[in-house]
């Protein structure tokens, strides 16, 4: 099965990120097979599919985080604004401050709330107290967390609730001023109320960021995204406007998945 080539020519022109024949191997197992896909600027794109379909691996290929794991090999290209992030001589560290990431489980550092958000800017050379404070406040406001933690910036981040910790991790990613935000099932470890807050937050964030969200929750994909890509066994089966994929899927496998016949 050839992967579906998606998007019109006009869409490809405006694509912020484009993967071109991207494949990822774990040792000898091909986890992602020849995926070509576009992501528009200031959009939320959802990646859905059953467990083990490779959607998280695909996401990590977009900021070269797969390289952190042993034995992972990547082939093909990932173009961000036309520049291949896998081109020889490209520094993955620089890529990761351009493409931020939020993980499945909230993973704040065992530091204070302030130091968590200031972590990225500090690594990138921001040291002025006033400047750091301004970045921390702005990032926490962007993540809808400021009002809840403004009076305890100095207390340990691990004392926050799970939902607050996840929004803190979002604020921490935003503090680096990325252009793209990758989120790997950001709400799967949270209760429905906290999940709702994250989804509201995505709606605001897409004004300023290009967002790609992996989710196993199809209702969530339908609520938050403009476009949805369906992955199965490491292949991109189809990628369409979210409204279309949930009402008129083109591929029978997509239909089988969204109508709940497997997964």
């Amino acid at each position: 099965m050839k992967p579906a080539l998606v998007g019109t020519a006009a869409r490809e022109e405006s694509a912020r990120i484009r993967t071109d024949d991207l494949s990822v191997w774990y040792g000898r197992i091909e986890a992602i097979c020849h995926v070509t896909m576009d992501f528009g600027a200031n959009q939320v794109t959802a990646l859905i599919g059953p467990s083990g379909c490779g959607k998280s691996t695909f996401l990590r290929a977009l900021n070269r985080m797969n390289e952190v794991l042993p034995g992972v090999r990547t082939q093909g290209r990932v173009l961000i604004d036309g520049r291949d992030i896998y081109a020889p001589g490209t520094d993955p560290v620089a890529i990761r401050s351009q493409v931020g990431m939020v993980f499945q489980r909230p993973n704040p550092f065992p530091f204070s709330v302030f130091d968590n958000v200031a972590y990225g800017p500090r690594r990138h050379g921001v040291s002025g107290k006033g400047e750091l404070y301004a970045i921390v406040e702005r990032s926490l406001r962007e993540a809808f967390l400021w009002d809840e933690v403004a009076d305890r910036l100095r207390s340990p981040a691990l004392n926050l609730s799970g939902g607050q910790q996840q929004r803190l991790c979002i604020a921490r990613a935003l503090a680096v001023r990325p252009e793209v935000l990758l989120m790997d099932e950001p709400a799967s470890a949270l209760d429905p109320v906290a999940t709702g807050r994250i989804e509201d937050l995505l709606f605001e964030l897409k004004r300023s960021y290009t967002i790609i969200v992996v989710t196993h929750n199809m209702q969530q994909a339908a609520r938050i995204s403009e476009r949805t890509g369906f992955f199965l066994h490491g292949e991109l089966v189809e990628c369409e406007a979210t409204a279309d994929i949930f009402t008129r899927p083109k591929d029978p496998r997509t239909e089988a998945y969204i109508t709940g016949r497997f997964g």
Partner: protein
């Protein structure tokens, strides 16, 4: 069972307290031995032990922490790494008297340091190095991968991640392991016997190249070499030594608890 495990400690401490406490006084702690060590205090030995502890820490902590972080964060899975790990494990099992003989042959004689604080510190530093390496490696491994990934995903370099996330996260474990290792240094006799310790010195050492008195060796001397020694002095010396070690262990526990509280959420 717990009481049974506690019993030897209680008996030893009780014995030391009963026999040694009467000897302890301000003079005992601040004056040198007199009358062929049959009276007087332990001040030079106390200072010597302090110098050896500080000196060996200066050797073992930077090297050991760097080595432990290397093994945990940088070393690949290859044969070389396994060899290093095996070497560390075996070094930890070498009897302390062998370290003493090595120190004598290498630092004292070959490098011409003489019997000195310096040679003793280096020997003791090598003795506890494997413990510090192992404690650091384990503490670093206990820092969850999610923290490494979070840091790398924020565009931090690997070194920045080790320095700013792994090291702070591992600090309670490193500190505890180091203090326990150092309190072992305070009690070791064999490694300093040939490398640092003096039978009797009227003066404190003036430079790192001077020998020192030290509590464990002093105790050994009092017990074996001094005829008709006052048992009160012997037990008093032992009590001070054991007290120092218990105190440093207590400090380790308190420090660890406080660091964990500061990290919040139950800590790492």
């Amino acid at each position: 069972m717990a009481l049974l495990a506690l019993a030897p400690l209680v008996v030893i401490l009780g014995y030391l307290l009963a026999g040694g406490l009467p000897a302890i006084s301000w003079e005992f702690l601040t004056q040198g031995p007199s009358n062929m060590m049959r009276s007087g205090g332990i001040f030079p030995a106390l200072v010597g032990t302090f110098l050896l502890v500080v000196g060996s820490s200066l050797v073992a902590v930077p090297l050991g922490v760097a080595g432990g972080l290397y093994l945990s964060e940088y070393a690949g899975p290859g044969v070389f790494t396994r060899l290093i790990r095996l070497a560390v494990l075996n070094l930890a099992g070498v009897p302390s008297v062998v370290y003493g003989l090595f120190g004598l042959g290498f630092f004292v004689v070959l490098l011409k340091m003489g019997v000195s604080v310096l040679a003793g510190s280096l020997t003791l530093g090598l003795l506890v190095l494997p413990i510090v390496i192992a404690a650091t490696e384990e503490a670093a491994r206990n820092v969850p991968d999610s923290h490494r990934h979070a840091s790398l995903a924020l565009g931090a370099t690997r070194w920045a991640t080790v320095w700013n996330v792994i090291l702070p996260g591992a600090r309670p474990g490193i500190l505890t392991g180091t203090i326990l290792a150092v309190s072992r240094v305070a009690g070791e006799t064999a490694p300093i016997m040939f490398t640092a310790a003096a039978f009797f010195l009227p003066r404190l050492p003036g430079s790192p190249f001077d020998p020192v008195m030290a509590l464990p060796y002093h105790l050994y001397v009092l017990s074996t070499e001094v005829a008709r020694a006052d048992p009160k002095i012997r037990l008093g010396t032992a009590l001070v030594l054991v007290g120092l070690i218990l105190l440093s262990n207590l400090v380790a526990i308190v420090l660890r608890a406080r660091m964990r509280a500061k990290q919040g959420g139950g800590g790492v």
